[in-house]
């Protein structure tokens, strides 16, 4: 008996489009495109239990003290100022372009790609806040300080390489970073409870 050859019928794929549309719409709805943004920081490593916080001897001219109290008021180098003035103050301090003896010392350092340059290598920005400081105020201060560094780096990159800092190559960025190293130090928290602000 001769067998009839059976034809395999093709799978109808016209509904494929519908299925993929459904999936597409599902992902469209659930997608949240927002990228999380924030201020990146690096914490100092913890103190060893038997290690006492050492008082590193820093010359007075090299230190820039920023204090924020519980009412979110700002005191910089003994002066009460507004947050909006902080950036310019910090820039003036970090760069010390006029070689002021009250601003941080300039040290000649050799840096790859740039050569010998005078920088304020030992400057430190010390940030102290109160237990009751509002988070927003703290972030604002951090933001202004980072902005000061970013502006200085941008200015230097423009002058030296003719480009913005973000457009430089990795090596160039490293070099600019070592011209203006970020040195923001936060005070070790004190045992609060007993002593309120103003005592130190």
């Amino acid at each position: 008996m001769a067998r009839k050859k059976r034809k395999i019928s093709e799978i109808n794929s016209s509904s494929m489009a519908d299925i993929s549309f459904l999936l597409l719409i599902f992902f469209l709805v659930t997608t949240s495109m927002n990228v999380s943004t924030g201020l990146s920081r690096r914490l100092p490593p913890p103190l060893q239990p038997n290690q006492k916080p050492t008082d590193i001897d820093i010359k007075k001219r090299n230190i820039f003290i920023v204090k924020v109290n519980s009412l979110n008021q700002l005191m910089v180098q003994g002066q009460e100022i507004n947050v909006r003035q902080l950036k310019d103050k910090a820039k003036e301090f970090i760069s010390n372009s006029s070689n002021d003896p009250n601003l941080p010392e300039k040290v000649t350092v050799e840096i790859d790609l740039i050569g010998n340059i005078e920088i304020t290598k030992d400057h430190v920005i010390s940030l102290q806040n109160d237990v009751d400081t509002q988070y927003q105020a703290y972030i604002e201060v951090q933001n202004e300080l980072v902005a000061a560094y970013n502006e200085l780096r941008n200015e230097f990159s423009k002058e030296r390489f003719g480009k913005l800092y973000s457009d430089l190559t990795e090596d160039q960025q490293k070099a600019v970073q070592s011209v203006y190293p970020q040195k923001i130090s936060e005070a070790e928290p004190k045992n609060y409870g007993g002593i309120k602000d103003g005592a130190n």
Binding site: L24, S36, L43, P45, Q134, I139
Partner: protein, 156 residues
């Protein structure tokens, strides 16, 4: 000689839709790739502070979040209206943070462990005492890369 054919009807051929699934699939894959599902359900209310010098958080798989804020309305009865910390899906005490970071880190690949970033998503009205405690706990856990979550400031 060329002949003008008048009798034959000229019809535009039907538009082929066979490539439609492919196009849709391409779109689908695009959205699948860029989608990030909501990380957790918030149990605390967080309105991030505003800043201008923001950096994008890259490598989302390396980021763990710490939420700080006041409990939302439905949890107020149980947890009060004081600032609380939320780790992944539950309220947590400050003392649990260190353990959480260590266990999250050991769950990561060995080579990635030092890339762990902790993003502190805190409400802008939080008191710094809480944040300082968190920072100290993170230091003890050697999670030194942190990021303060903030949103772009539109105007002063």
């Amino acid at each position: 000689m060329a002949r003008i054919r008048k009798d034959e009807k000229r019809e535009a051929p039907a538009l082929s839709t066979s490539s439609l699934p492919d196009i849709i699939f391409m779109l689908l894959f695009f959205f699948m790739a860029v989608t990030s599902m909501k990380e957790v359900t918030y149990k605390v209310k967080v309105t991030p502070p505003e800043a201008t010098e923001l950096q994008k958080l890259e490598n989302k798989s390396m980021v763990r979040y710490v939420y700080v804020g006041k409990p939302t309305a439905e949890f107020k009865k149980v947890f009060g209206s004081e600032t609380r910390i939320q780790l992944s899906d539950a309220f947590a005490d400050i003392s649990e943070l260190e353990k959480y970071v260590v266990s999250e880190r050991s769950a990561m690949k060995e080579g990635d462990q030092n890339l762990l970033t902790i993003s502190i998503k805190a409400d802008k009205d939080t008191r710094m005492g809480v944040i300082t405690d968190i920072k100290q706990a993170l230091r003890r856990a050697y999670a030194l890369k942190i990021s303060y979550a903030a949103q772009q400031r539109v105007s002063y």
